[in-house]
Structures are given as C-alpha cells and as structure tokens.
Amino acid sequence: MKKYTYQLFALLGSALMLSSCGNQNGNSSSGALNSSNAEKVYVAPGEHDEFYAFMSGGYSGNLTVYGLPSGRMFKEIPVFSQFPTSGYGYSEETKPMLETSHGFVPWDDSHHPDISQTNGELDGRWIFINGNNTPRIARISLTTFETEEIIEVPNSAGNHSSSFVTENTEYVVAGTRFSVPIPQRDMPINEYKGNFQGALSFISVDPEHGHMDIKFQIIMPGFNYDLSHPGRGKSHGWFFFTTYNTEEANSLQEVNSSQNDKDFIAAINWKMVEEYVNNGGGKKVPANYAHNLYDESTHTATSTMKKEVLTVNPLDVPGAVFFLPTPKSPHGCDVDPSGEYIIGNGKLSADLTVHSFDNMIAAIEGKKFDGEAYGIPILKFEDVLAGVVKSGGLGPLHTEFDGKGNAYTTFFISSEVVKWKLGTWEVIDRKPTYYSVGHLMIPGGNSRKPFGKYVVALNKITKDRYLPVGPEMEHSAQIYDISGEKMELLYDFPTHGEPHYAAGIPAELLAPKSKKIYRLDENKHPYAVLTPDQARVERKGNEVHIYMSTIRSHFTPDNIEGVKVGDKVYFHITNHEQDFDVPHGFAMIGQNTSELLIMPGQTKSSVWEPKKPGVWPFYCTDFCSALHQEMQGYVRVSPADSNIELSWSLGED
C-alpha cells in the first residue's frame, strides 16, 4: 500500500505543489491523536449520527443524505434526475415532475441545498435545491424526504445564485449565472453588451404547504450573478448577490471577464420591491414555465404551464438596488449570523473583502455614490468596507460561521480551510484539504444559529484519497472538528455525484418527524385498491388497467389473461403493507422503463406495451420476506386479433 501511495504522489506533483502550506499528507498526527480522532467519528453499530448532512448531487441532479460525524450515506433523494431505483421520473405519477417548457428534461445539475428557516434558524420543514442547467428550484419534504415540488425559472440561464431562503422562508431566491436576451430572441451574440440582462427571481413560499410561486423577477444589467445569501437579523429584508463579468464579455470569459479590478455585490432591498409589487408595481410579461407539484395524498404529480411572470425594472424602485464594489470576480457571498458582515470572496484574489451592513446603510443615506451602472448607484468601496482578511491563501471561495465569532473560508487554489475572527480579521488557523475545496458546510452555518461543532469541506479533486477505481471516481469530503481553537481533520468520506454546497441540521430536529409509512386510509390515488377485493383488470379500448395490490408475499391478482399485443398495459400497484420498511418492488420482463419501488400504503403506476404473444412473468424486486422469491405472477399476452376474455385471479384452482 505504501509503495502504491508513493507512485501516486509522483503523479500528483503538480496538484500538491499548489498547496502552499506544509502538512500535505494529513498523516502527521501522532498515533494517540489519530485514535482519539477515530473515536470522534465512530458511531457504534445501531447508534445514530448527531447531524444530518444534505449534499447536493451536482451532475447527478439529486440530493444525498449523510450522517455526521460518521460520513455514512443514508439515502439518495431523486430531484431533477430520473431514478430507476425507485421509478422516480419513470412512473406515471412522477413523470410530470420533470416537465419543463423545453419538454421532459430527465436530468439537471443540482447545486445549493438550503433548509427552511423561521426567525433565521433552521426549522427543518423543507430543503430547497436549484437545478442549474434548465433553471428550476425544487422543494423537498423533510418528513418524507421526497421531492414535492419543482418550479421552472423563466428568463434565467445557469440558475446558479440559488436556492437560498430568507429568514422566515418568505422567499427562496434564484439568480441567473448567464445573462440572456429577455425575452429570448434571435440576435447576434456579439451584441451582448447593453442588451443581455440578468433576472433575479424571488419565489414566494406558502408558509403552510410550502408551495412556490414566482412573486417577481428583478431584471438586472447583463452581468453574471454568481452566488447569493440573504441578510439576517438587522439586514433581514436585503439580499446580496456576487457578480462577475461586469465587463459584459460574450466570449473567452476566462480572460475577458477578469479585466475589471472590481466587480460588484448587488444589494437588493427585497422588502422594498415586495411593497412596490404589492401596490401594483412591476410589469406582467408573457412567459412559459412549468410548475410541477406532487400531492402526497394522491401520490401523484401534476405539471402546469404558467404563462406570465411579474418583472421589475430596478430603476423603477429607487433605493432598492445598489452595487458594492468587490475585488476580483467575487464568487462566494456570505452573511455572518449577526447580519452585519457581507463577505465577498474574490476568487482571483488572495484576500477576503468584508463589507459592513451598517456602513452600507450609512453610505446609502449619505448618498455617497461612486457613479452608477445602467442607472444603479455604485457605493464607494472604502465607505462600505469593514475589513480585509489577509489570509495568505489563494482563490477564496466560500465562508461559513460557527456562531462563536469565527468564520471559515475555503481556498480552492491553495487547497485549505482558513479560520479567522470576525471583527479583528485575524487568521486563527488554517488546515489543508485534499484536494481543492469548493464549498464548506457547518450545520446551520448560514443561519442566525450555527451548530459549530464540525465543518465539512467539499473537495473538488479526489485523486489518491481512496483505492483507485479508474479515471472516474466519487468526490471527497473531509470532516474537521471545530470545537477547539484549532481545526482537527477527523475523517475522509466519498460523496456521490459532485456535491457543491451542502446543508446540515441536528438529527433531533428531523429524526422524530421522519415518516415511516404512508397510511392506506389516507391514500387518495385514483387508481389505488384499498382492499384486495377491489383488485381487478379493466379494458378501455387498447388500454388495459391492472389494479393490483401487494402484501408479503403475493400480488393480487397474479394471473392475468386477455391482454393483447398492441395494448397499453398500466400496472397500478398499491402496497398494502402498513409496517415500517416493507416496500415491494415491481418489474415486468421487457418493460421499456424502470422498476417501481412502492412504499407501504403507496400506489405507483407504470406502463408496459407487450410486443409479442406469450406468457410473461413479473416479480417483486425488493426482498420482502422469506417467501420473496415466491412473489411473482404471469400475464398472458395473446395476438392482437384473439378473442380471449380479460380475466384475473389469485390462488384459484
């Protein structure tokens, strides 16, 4: 094993050289320390973790659930991607979840999960996540851990500065990474400058059901809106977005978007804009975007196309939008728990820029502007600046907070996490990451009440951290103990897809309300069979509807005859189990779709179009009992012109 490591180290030369500081292999701790670190992440068999961690799936399009400190993965929640494991996006009930104005889109790139808040603290009702590619925001229930709603965001492209919630989950906010022609139209690309625009969308969240609706879109100048965070406490009512490409380049952005010494953080007084639209302000414009809603009682999603969106020109709401100059293409945009400090991390800078909310308000009130951009006032950098963290690192990206006056910032290029003190800006500690960290996450670390015990670094490059598995591998996360003055690297664990951001929450806030079964007596699915004697087969023209029920370990019915080639056969399967963790699966030979995995009390449907006469078997895919292998059945398929009557049975002689 050792020899192996050395070989890899040679390959890794360039990556490691980028790590500016020493302690590069992470193994320098003494044996005694290692064993105490092992204890810190050890969760004994049958015991539970202290925190849930929700990791975005990145290009998997989904959201994964881990435990901290153990790093054990509990679940992958399908969100924007078809998921054959459960049938999400394949079953008739869930196909509508992936509808968009572009038609059925079976995939996305999920980036930034954020847990709902009340009074600035995690309330554990829902978690939101953005689809970056075909702009969408999803809401996931934290009682069922299933995706309940997806809303498409019109006028947006590269939905990246999303999906962050305001202090009482009044809004989930989605900003555009690409500026585009609004409305979309055929025009020369090189006429970008001055013509393309960026939409910042404020999506209201119904406080009871969580249902989302785009309340308004602020149509901003054609910059790239990179990341965002809400104000909190005294800055509640404001939202802050980092921007880059204020050059408005339309090509070779790698060079052309890095010309200005400073880009901006856009500060939006959304309460003022909200008041403006509540009083009839803004302009309704034609749009076309999908709103997909899953109903837990019918176990079914519906997709509705919305045809209008309310847009706001920031110049029509004077005093609502300002630009804060921020050096070097700022990426991360983070607000400390008190709401006073707004941190913009210039990704091409060595330093962190910290703006003061109080200074910003004073500058606005004093009208101390340094010009304007497309009519939006630019505040003077020196007037809003609170301080600069001279870290010595390279490529700062994201900052989280521990609630004890400290901030933790990731540095991508120098591959480290730096701990520094709010207010004094002094660097307290720095620890390397393996390798090239992107986001980091402290449970509640972007709320008014962080739980500052662990920080998880979400690394972009894995290389030699695990046994090699060919060129493609999982990403790597690292958990650090941050309860003391110095950070202590505890453990590495692989993460699925490409986690960008993550959100953590104490287990005690979620575990007690996690749903165990769906109650059969609450099942309102139109094709449910609530008692086995309702199980039946019906023909409507060439559609055959099989109303089937399951319990350990048989299907009712399990013998079906009278199906013909050319029929469209719908299996509607209700799982009659009412016990925790007894799903049944359903798979039909040759079916051009995925299996179904049906939770207790749930109904799911899938379509089969038999192509050949014969007697075709189906079976349960989830090992449900000692007699699981007996859980099977047959469908007899006759030629299209046959006159075999529909019939069905179970256990009849």
């Binding site: 059969l520 609530l530 048989h554 009659h576």
Partner: protein, 168 residues
C-alpha cells in the same frame, strides 16, 4: 402448492415413467407421492406437536405483548364489530379469507381456539409473537413461513377487529 423433492433417484424414476407412459393416459405435469413434512416431524416431536398449531386449543395462552387481560361483554357491540369488519377488509383480507385457508388461516372459529388477548397481541405485534409465543411460532412454520404483516393498527382498532371476529 409447494413441492419439495428430496430424492434424485425418485425424480429420475418418475421422469422415466413419464417418458415411457401410455399414449391414452396423457399426464400433465408430474406428481410425487409424499407424506407431509409436518406429519413426519410429528413422530419424533413432543405431544403438543402432534396436533397442527392451527387446530390446537390454546385458550389459556394470552400470548406475548401489551394486551394482558381482556374482558368481553356478553353482548357483541355491533358498532364496534362493524368498524372492525371494515378494518379487517382493508388490512387483513390479502391473506385471510373467510371461506378458506389462504396465506394464513380463516378467522372463523378463532375464538374457540385462541384467547382474546392472544388474538390482539398477534395482530399488534406479530414479530414479537412469532419470536416468543410457541403457538404463533408453530403457526408460522405450518403456514410455509409466511410471516404475518404488522399493519400498524392501534389497540382500539385491533379490539374492534376482535369484536368482528365474534360475529363470524
């Protein structure tokens, strides 16, 4: 029907018989003469096993679980029985038919064999019962190892199903 074949030579001879069989007596499938495995094991087992669990009378056995003592009124509570009948239909009929032995036994006559407490404990926590109650364990074996499902019913709901059983 579950067919257990223990003897390869037996299979071979049966297959031989089929292949040489007369034309007029066309056989569909094949059959094996065998005695039931439960009867076989009964020879060596203690007396209690000589009677299949489904036919044993165990009225003194209250089972294992939260129901310790139930007193049944002389008169059947019709309202409760009706509610129990509805619950039985939704939660139990996938495996328990009135007119025949199905996945599990028919509930008709169950109160002549089992105590009210045993019945309720079996519905409320079949896993615990099959682990710790002798009769429940034997029933599991007798019914092909098809474990009874826990349908997450409340004590009140279970009590109403018991009342329904009294009407059968």
């Amino acid at each position: 029907m579950k067919i257990r074949i223990h003897h390869p030579i037996l299979i071979a001879s049966i297959l031989l018989l089929i292949s040489c069989g007369g034309k007029e007596e066309k056989k569909e499938g094949f059959g094996i003469d065998r005695s039931k495995s439960t009867e076989k094991s009964a020879e060596a087992a203690p007396a209690i096993d000589q009677v299949p669990a489904s036919q044993r009378i165990t009225l003194d056995d209250k089972g294992v679980g939260q129901i310790k003592d139930i007193t049944l009124d002389a008169e059947i509570n019709k309202e409760m029985a009706a509610a129990g009948g509805a619950l039985y239909k939704t939660n139990c009929t996938a495996c328990h038919k009135l007119d025949k032995r199905f996945i599990g036994p028919s509930p008709i006559g169950i109160l002549e064999r089992r105590s009210p407490e045993w019945i309720m404990n079996m519905i409320l926590d079949p896993k615990l019962m099959t682990e710790q109650d002798r009769c429940a364990k034997d029933l599991l074996i007798e019914f092909n190892g098809a474990a009874m499902s826990n349908q997450n019913l409340t004590v009140e709901e279970t009590r109403s199903i018991l009342e329904y059983f009294r009407t059968l």
